[in-house]
Structure formats: structure tokens, C-alpha cells
């Protein structure tokens, strides 16, 4: 990745609205063939950042450059915008057929008719909507609309594609199918991408790097595995799927292992600290193992707690077990595993997790 050229850069980017700063990005860089996910809640500034990167919004301060040349946010300058593409969250298809929609970017660029037919045909196939070519965009399902919208963006062979929450309006199965196809198209086309999302799974599936945003600022930035494993604070933790977040106090420290007091229970985690120090602990629910018999002698996990199932919630094929172990703990269990365990709300269980599964950070 280090050898890849820097495609898109932003420095000191500030966007103000009504006197308030809604986006402050000191530095941003997108390399060739790289995909970056902007993750955060509504109002985090993700869409504003994408609009600024697409030169559709003039920043109040700062500079955006593409391959070293400054990008000017002006509706009259098309040279930069014809090398990128942007897909909006809402379906913004033209009142025309799927073919004409996908061809629109090419027609705008004055591409000859034969070339348009060839490229549109290819793109429709890649997004599995070639059978819809002649259908009016007004007669498409939500998934077909978003596939057409993505195909329209990729038909122009952009060097950078900016995707603003492209799956938000879709149901989970449609979203999953489209995500897989998009990942494949992105890999094949080799174009760089910036994808805004509030879904950790989308970020993990589609991006190499992740930028966690809150209130228009970057909370954390790094590779997806870095950010997922080591969130810098509670906010970042909650956005990378760490549902188990609790406060603790360091009781003792030695040989890279800390003993922490969490609501009167002692937890062992890997890390450094000084006794008496207050820290925040977080762990992915996937790392918590639930058993109905005491696993003390059969597991290498250092943390084993007896507890009671407070409630069970189903999220597709995965179930979340909400446990009371003296402190609240969430565990992810597949439907099949839940059936084998035979537990329900009120059942007595044992929860265990490894010392390496817990990430800690100082309260800031």
C-alpha cells in the first residue's frame, strides 16, 4: 500500500454552516486502489466530507488536491468531476430506462454511441441487472435502484468513487447481496473508494481503512483491523461493534497483565497500567463464550464468571445474550449454538473470555 500513489488529499478542510463548524479534517489521504470507510452516526459529517471531496461543496477553509493538483469547487469545472463518481444515499435515478440511466455519465462525456452500448452492457452484467436494461427506473425495487445507481457510477470508469451510505435504504438480504457484488466490482475495477456508513460490517467488508467520525471531527483513523481491535474511546468502541463497554480500576499490574476491578469482580486483561488508575474496558460480543457448565478446567480463558441470562434477542442468524454477571455482558451466539445450549431468559450460565479479548483505554 505504501508504494501506491496518493490520489486524493485534503488538508485543513473546514466546512462551516450558519457560523458553526460542521466539518474539520486536518488531513485526509486516499491512495490508489485503496478504500476508506467513514463511519459514524447521522450528523457526524460523513456526507459533508464526501460532498467536499466531490467538489460539490466549497469548503470554508482548506485545500483538496487530486494527483497533486488543487481541486476547485465550481459547477463550471468538469475536469475533476469527470474522473470521479459519487453515489448518493437516496435513489436519484433519471426518469428513463435502466440503460439510459447507466449511460447518462458517458453521454455527458460525449462518448460515442457504440462505446456507450459496450460499456453499459458490461457494467449492467457486472451488477447483475442486464435483464433490466429496458425497464423504466420508476418500476425498480429498492435493490435494483441502488444497483442501477452504482452501475451508473462505475460505467464511467472513475478513478475514485464516493459512496454515501449506499445500502441504508435496503433490507438485510438485499444489502448483503449487493455488498458482495460491490466488493467484487471494486476489486476488479481497482478504483479507489470512500464509503460513508454507520454499519461496522459494511466498513469491514468494503474498506481497507476506517475513519471514525463524530461531530464533524475524526475520532480515530487506521486500518479496519486496528480500529476494530483498538478503539481509542467509548464512542469509537460503540461504532466498531464493541457492545461490552464498562469502567474499571486497576488493582494490580505485572508481566503485561492487569487485574481490574469491575463492579466488584476481578478481570484479567492484557495491558499496562498503574494500580488505582481508572480505565474503560471493551470487548466484542463475539469474543464472549457462553456455557452451561463451569468451564474453569477446560478453557484457557482467564476470565470466567457465573451469571444469569437477562434476555435473548435475535438479529438474523445471530442471537445476542444479555447477561448479568455482576456487571452487564453481551455475548453473540449463533441460532444453532443457542439451540444446543438450550438457554433462555433466566437460565444460569457461565461467561468466559480471554485476557487478550479485552481492549482498554484511559478515560479522556
Amino acid at each position: 500500500m505504501s508504494a501506491a500513489r496518493e490520489l486524493l488529499q485534503a488538508r485543513g478542510l473546514v466546512v462551516r454552516r450558519g457560523g458553526a463548524e460542521v466539518l474539520t479534517i486536518p488531513e485526509f489521504c486516499l491512495h490508489e486502489r485503496e478504500s476508506v470507510a467513514l463511519i459514524g452516526p447521522n450528523g457526524a459529517g460523513k456526507s459533508t466530507m464526501l460532498l467536499a471531496l466531490a467538489s460539490l461543496l466549497k469548503p470554508s477553509a482548506g485545500e483538496i488536491s487530486f494527483l497533486g493538483s488543487p481541486v476547485i469547487a465550481s459547477s463550471g469545472d468538469t475536469s475533476y468531476r469527470r474522473r470521479i463518481a459519487m453515489v448518493f444515499q437516496e435513489p436519484l435515478l433519471f426518469d428513463a430506462t435502466v440503460f439510459d440511466n447507466v449511460a447518462s455519465g458517458l453521454k455527458i462525456r460525449g462518448v460515442p454511441g457504440d462505446e456507450i452500448r459496450r460499456r453499459v452492457g458490461e457494467t449492467l452484467e457486472r451488477f447483475r441487472i442486464d435483464h433490466l436494461a429496458g425497464r423504466s427506473a420508476r418500476r425498480l425495487s429498492g435493490g435494483e435502484v441502488q444497483r442501477t445507481s452504482l452501475a451508473r457510477a462505475f460505467a464511467t470508469k472513475p478513478e475514485v468513487v464516493l459512496l454515501d451510505e449506499p445500502f441504508t435504504a435496503l433490507d438485510p438480504p438485499t444489502r448483503h447481496g449487493l455488498m458482495l457484488d460491490l466488493a467484487e466490482v471494486m476489486r476488479e475495477s481497482g478504483c479507489a473508494a470512500v464509503i460513508s456508513t454507520h454499519d461496522q460490517m459494511e466498513a469491514l467488508r468494503l474498506a481497507d481503512r476506517m475513519i471514525v467520525m463524530q461531530g464533524g471531527r475524526v475520532v480515530q483513523s487506521g486500518t479496519t483491523s486496528e480500529v476494530t481491535a483498538n478503539p481509542v474511546n467509548e464512542f469509537a468502541a460503540s461504532f466498531v461493534g464493541m457492545e461490552n463497554v464498562f469502567s474499571g480500576v486497576v488493582v494490580s499490574a505485572g508481566e503485561g497483565v492487569l487485574v481490574l476491578d469491575v463492579a466488584g469482580q476481578h478481570l484479567e486483561v492484557v495491558g499496562s497500567g498503574t494500580p488505582g488508575e481508572r480505565v474503560v474496558l471493551c470487548a466484542h460480543p463475539e469474543h464472549v463464550v457462553v456455557t452451561t457448565v463451569d468451564p474453569h478446567h477446560r478453557t484457557s480463558a482467564r476470565n470466567v464468571f457465573p451469571g444469569k441470562v437477562s434476555r435473548v434477542l435475535q438479529f438474523g442468524a445471530v442471537n445476542k445474550l444479555y447477561l448479568d454477571c455482576g456487571f452487564p455482558l453481551v455475548a453473540s451466539v449463533t441460532s444453532h449454538a443457542l439451540q444446543d445450549l438450550g438457554v433462555a431468559a433466566g437460565s444460569r450460565v457461565f461467561a468466559s473470555f480471554k485476557a487478550t479479548s479485552v481492549h482498554i483505554f484511559r478515560k479522556g
Partner: protein, 232 residues
């Protein structure tokens, strides 16, 4: 009752025999109102698009003025255009008062705000981010405007219908600036008024039926286009 039946009989006779005078009046009506609609389409769609897309102080007031003007009373327009074209008026030297040209001007003044008002609404009703999406596709500003107008084509067809319907059926302005001169500025509406005044109800009914048929035919054609555009 006989009066009405006689009227229909006469109308039928005038229609099937292609009465020269009625044919002349009908053709002039189509020419004057058609030309006025075309000119107002140009003024209304261009002006409406500019007003809808541009941001400037006083935009809301201007939109209100356009919307109010959609219901301009034809007699007021007739009075205004007459004054403008009167021998001593600002455009008196053109010497076009009581000519079909003056009627086209008056009807254009009536139809333009109708087309403009509907155009503004049509463009403003498009999704707000569509403009950005079009620019993101690499469009220049003129390409963006063209694509937006194309997206609003169905409501713009309604603007043509409303504009044409408004001017083909108006009488006040046409009679004031045209003068209802036989064989020169007499159109369907002014002729109907005159024949009614003379008590020639059969001719008046015939002219009325022709007027209704023209309105129906034009609107039917445009509706067909609209329906063909809409997916079923």
C-alpha cells in the same frame, strides 16, 4: 330547446361544409394562440428554470408575483397592451395595434406567467440532491440545466396545456388589441361574442363547439404523450 338543437344543426352544417369564414376564424385562432404559447413556453420555461435554480434576494417575492400573474385578467392585459401599442404609446410607432401581432403579444403576456409558474414548481419539486447528482456525473452547468428540464418534462407538458388553454379561450384581450376585424383579427372567441350579441345563437354555438373541440384535441394529444411517458 329548439334554439339549442338549431344551434347544433347549424354547427354540424358549418363543420361538414368547411365554411370558409369559420375555417378562417379557426385557423387564425390556432395561429395566434399557438404562436403565443410557443413564445410563452420559451420565456416561461427559461425564466422559470432560472428563477427555480438561482438564489438571489427577493426570490420569494418574485415567485409570488409570478404565481399571482398566473391569473392575470385578460381585460387588464388587453388594456395594458393597448396603451403600450397606442399611437402615442411607448411602442406606437410599431403600428401593430388591431393586428394579429398585437393579439400574439397580449396572449403571450397572459400565457407566460402560467408557463413560468408551473415551470418553477416543476423544477423546485425535483429532489434537491438531483442537481448535485447530475454535477457528480460530470455534467457542465448547461448540461445540468438541460437534464433537470428533461426530468421535469411531464409537468412542463401540463404547463403547455394550461398556457394554450388559457389563451385560446380568452376574449377580453383579443377583442381589445385585435378589434375583431372580419377576415383579419377575428378569432373564435371574439366571433362567438359578436354572434351572441347579434342573436345568432346557432353560429355562436357552432363556434363554441369548434373551440371546445380544439381545446379537447390539443389536451388529448398532450395527455397521450404524458401517458406514454408514464410506466404502467
Amino acid at each position: 330547446m329548439d334554439l339549442i338543437l338549431d344551434g347544433f344543426r347549424m354547427a354540424w352544417h358549418l363543420l361538414v361544409t368547411l365554411d370558409k369564414e369559420v375555417l378562417g376564424v379557426t385557423l387564425l385562432s390556432l395561429k395566434v394562440s399557438g404562436l403565443a404559447t410557443l413564445i410563452s413556453l420559451l420565456i416561461g420555461v427559461v425564466g422559470g428554470t432560472v428563477i427555480a435554480l438561482a438564489e438571489f434576494p427577493g426570490k420569494r417575492i418574485l415567485v409570488s408575483v409570478v404565481n399571482t400573474s398566473m391569473g392575470l385578467p385578460p381585460v387588464v392585459v388587453g388594456l395594458f397592451v393597448t396603451i403600450m401599442l397606442w399611437r402615442n404609446g411607448p411602442f406606437g410607432e410599431w403600428e401593430i395595434l388591431y393586428t394579429p401581432a398585437a393579439m400574439v403579444i397580449a396572449q403571450t403576456v397572459i400565457a407566460s406567467p402560467i408557463v413560468m409558474g408551473i415551470s418553477i414548481a416543476a423544477i423546485q419539486n425535483l429532489p434537491p440532491n438531483l442537481r448535485l447528482q447530475i454535477l457528480a456525473l460530470g455534467a457542465s452547468r448547461p448540461q445540468m440545466v438541460w437534464l433537470l428540464v428533461r426530468e421535469a418534462r411531464l409537468p412542463l407538458l401540463a404547463a403547455i396545456m394550461a398556457g394554450f388553454g388559457g389563451v385560446i379561450s380568452e376574449v377580453g384581450a383579443s377583442i381589445m388589441v385585435g378589434g375583431n376585424i372580419k377576415g383579419y383579427t377575428r378569432v373564435l372567441t371574439t366571433a362567438t361574442v359578436m354572434e351572441t350579441g347579434k342573436g345568432n345563437f346557432d353560429t355562436a354555438i357552432a363556434l363554441g363547439i369548434i373551440l371546445l373541440l380544439i381545446c379537447f384535441a390539443i389536451n388529448y394529444l398532450l395527455t397521450l404523450v404524458q401517458q406514454r411517458e408514464r410506466p404502467r
